[in-house]
């Protein structure tokens, strides 16, 4: 089967009535372009979300509609080619974070982000994905983590974190209530975050554990849009949870992973509904709200202005919009300032959706971060906090690239630092 045939098959598989109705609703008004940070940053018209999903639309029309079929027969439209797939692979994996801001602007309300995920399914089936992204997927299939966090590395890192920050991290505890699955970004690059979350949960008296089987929450299969890989990685988490008999799974700071496990897993794997899936941001909100942990009021009021970055998959697509605000109002009642736009209308960091893993995307990734810089600078913030490690990676990398004097931190870490002993 040729690459194009594989892509067509995947496009067709993706296209139920849910997708078709939305493709039919599009009026090609182009308003989505102005929502896209990559388009805003570069002015490249090919980055308009409507254009990025062009092949999905053409596949649908050619395959399922009378008019589309007639156009193809009359030569008014051409069959999709391998070259086109390669080109759209570049557009979608380098200049789209699937942040779904475009959906907020679409006058028809089309859930463009979901359609762009469908687009990725076809591209992944055709192998039209960047080599570095493909390599990361292979690594996750073989080693259990795209960042080289093998069993041994995981073991050593957790031991080191427990030692270094003098915090207990319960491992493979059967009968625990809560399974916490960290992302390798945290374990490998932001270990303070792992320590912070452990400290908070211990303080709250939560019966929690990590699992050596379910040790990686990151889902590179979901990034590339390959259903089989996505399910494989989801199953590793679910099997780990089942083995330990936990009631709920806490996803830590990875947006795409949360999207996959919380909002999609049950539609692929019905057993996912055996567990409550919640993001760490929701847990923090719950613990503070119930009074299970106490925070020092104003603990961060003397560090200059603090702003909060809304992550697309955790706030706009995840629903945890209010909790971070409630917590920041305790931690920094006077110095917390909102960026504009914020909440579900926020502008993406530019590094999500696998983009930060693709070297060829560096120029557009940095270009789109300039929008974020303008936003942060306009409130005069010196500290930016967030609830997603992937955003945090983009921030720390860009802060270095642009030589900025901001402090980049995470909400869990701030909460841990402000705990009343």
């Amino acid at each position: 089967m040729s690459a194009t045939e594989k892509a067509m098959e995947a496009f067709v598989h993706e296209t139920g009535g849910w997708v078709a109705a939305q493709l039919e609703a599009c009026t090609r008004c182009g308003m989505c372009a102005d929502a896209c940070h990559f388009y805003q940053a570069t002015g490249n018209p090919e980055y308009a979300p409507v254009w990025k999903m062009e092949l999905l639309r053409r596949a649908y029309e050619q395959r399922f509609t009378l008019v589309g079929g007639a156009k193809l027969a009359l030569g008014l439209d051409k069959a999709i080619t391998d070259e086109e797939l390669a080109h759209w692979g570049d557009l979608n994996y380098e200049a789209c974070t699937v942040c779904n801001k475009c959906s907020m602007v679409c006058p028809m309300g089309i859930d463009i982000g979901s359609l762009l995920h469908g687009m990725r399914a076809g591209l992944a089936a055709a192998g039209a994905i960047p080599t570095d992204l493909a390599a990361a997927v292979t690594k996750q299939v073989n080693e259990g983590s795209p960042l080289g966090m093998t069993d041994k590395v995981w073991d050593q890192r957790l031991e080191w974190v427990a030692d270094e920050w003098e915090v207990e991290i319960p491992r493979d505890v059967k009968g625990a209530t809560t399974l916490v699955v960290f992302s390798s970004i945290e374990v490998m690059k932001f270990p303070t975050n792992v320590a912070a979350i452990a400290k908070v949960l211990n303080k709250a008296g939560e019966k929690w554990t990590v699992s050596s089987k379910a040790r990686e929450i990151v889902n590179f299969g979901f990034y590339e849009g390959n259903e089989e890989h996505t399910k494989l990685f989801l199953n590793r988490v679910l099997e780990g949870a089942k083995e330990l008999g936990v009631k709920r799974i806490v996803v830590t700071e990875c947006g795409h992973a949360y999207d996959a496990l919380r909002w999609h897993a049950a539609n692929w794997i019905p057993e996912a509904n055996d567990f409550e899936v919640i993001h760490i941001t929701g847990v923090l909100g719950e613990l503070v709200g119930d009074g299970r942990i106490k925070l020092k009021p104003g603990a961060f009021d003397n560090d200059g202005t603090i702003t909060f970055h809304d992550a697309c998959k955790i706030q706009r697509k995840g629903g945890h919009i209010q909790e971070p605000r409630d917590i920041l109002k305790i931690l920094a009642p006077n110095s917390f300032k909102e960026m504009t736009p914020n909440r579900e209308e926020s502008v993406c960091c530019g590094g999500g959706g696998g983009v930060i893993a693709v070297k060829a995307a560096d120029p557009v990734r940095y270009a789109s971060f300039e929008l974020k810089m303008a936003q942060v600078n306009s409130v005069g913030a010196k500290t930016v906090t967030m609830t997603c490690s992937n955003c945090r990676l983009q921030y720390t990398d860009s802060v270095e690239h642009f030589n900025l004097d901001w402090k980049v931190t995470g909400l869990a870490q701030m909460v841990a630092d402000a705990l009343v002993e």
């Binding site: 296209t15 139920g16 009535g17 849910w18 078709a20 109705a21 939305q22 039919e24 609703a25 599009c26 009026t27 090609r28 008004c29 182009g30 308003m31 372009a33 102005d34 388009y39 805003q40 002015g43 018209p45 090919e46 308009a48 409507v50 254009w51 062009e54 399922f64 509609t65 009378l66 008019v67 008014l76 959906s103 907020m104 602007v105 679409c106 006058p107 028809m108 309300g109 089309i110 859930d111 979901s114 919380r262 909002w263 999609h264 897993a265 049950a266 539609n267 019905p270 509904n273 409550e276 706030q315 706009r316 697509k317 995840g318 629903g319 919009i321 504009t340 736009p341 579900e344 209308e345």
Partner: protein, 225 residues
Amino acid sequence: MSSQAVLEFARGPFFYFALLFMLFGLAYRLFNVISLGWNKDRVVPMGSKSKGVVITFLKAFLIWPFIPWVKDTFNRNPLIYIGGGLFHLSLFVVIILGTPHMLVWKSLIGLGWPTLPLPVVDWMSAVGIIAMVILLINRRIHPVLKLISGPAEFVAWLFVFLPMITGYMMTHHIGGSYEALYARHMISVDVLMIWIPLSRISHFVFYFFSRAIHGQEFGKRGVAV
């Protein structure tokens, strides 16, 4: 053939043919989409889906079209918001609140309603025509719109524009006898009705799906938009 004969044809058999073609065409398009199947969503919601749907429709109908600048994207491309908004408002005023059109509705569905005075409707139709011209120019020069527009977009524009301009000419008796102007208007309306199910002008049908999906998706995540 005399103008009178053309008019009789255009408002008689051709009109009813076009009307039925549009209705059956749209029904077919709907059936085609629905028959692709709808997977049941097994995900446990965090908020209410139906609340999301209600809120998004209320916002779309009552708020966004009238205060477009609530969106930050408005500032980057105000033309398309204002042009698109005025065009649709003009359509609503002329087709629903214009006396001659209300009478057509009355003859078709047996129901009438109060209408606006002719000068108001007339001005709004002029606004719609100007908006259409501006949107066409914008489509020819905006880099994104240039990229995503093909013959289909321009043909659709033309078939929407013709009934508007012929209707305006008819009201003002420009360019021929009353019968000739009326005939031209009716033919352009008939052509438009035939073209609707063959093109993206049909978006008004699928709008209710996509808007509802938007409400469900955000409602189930507890994000009310």
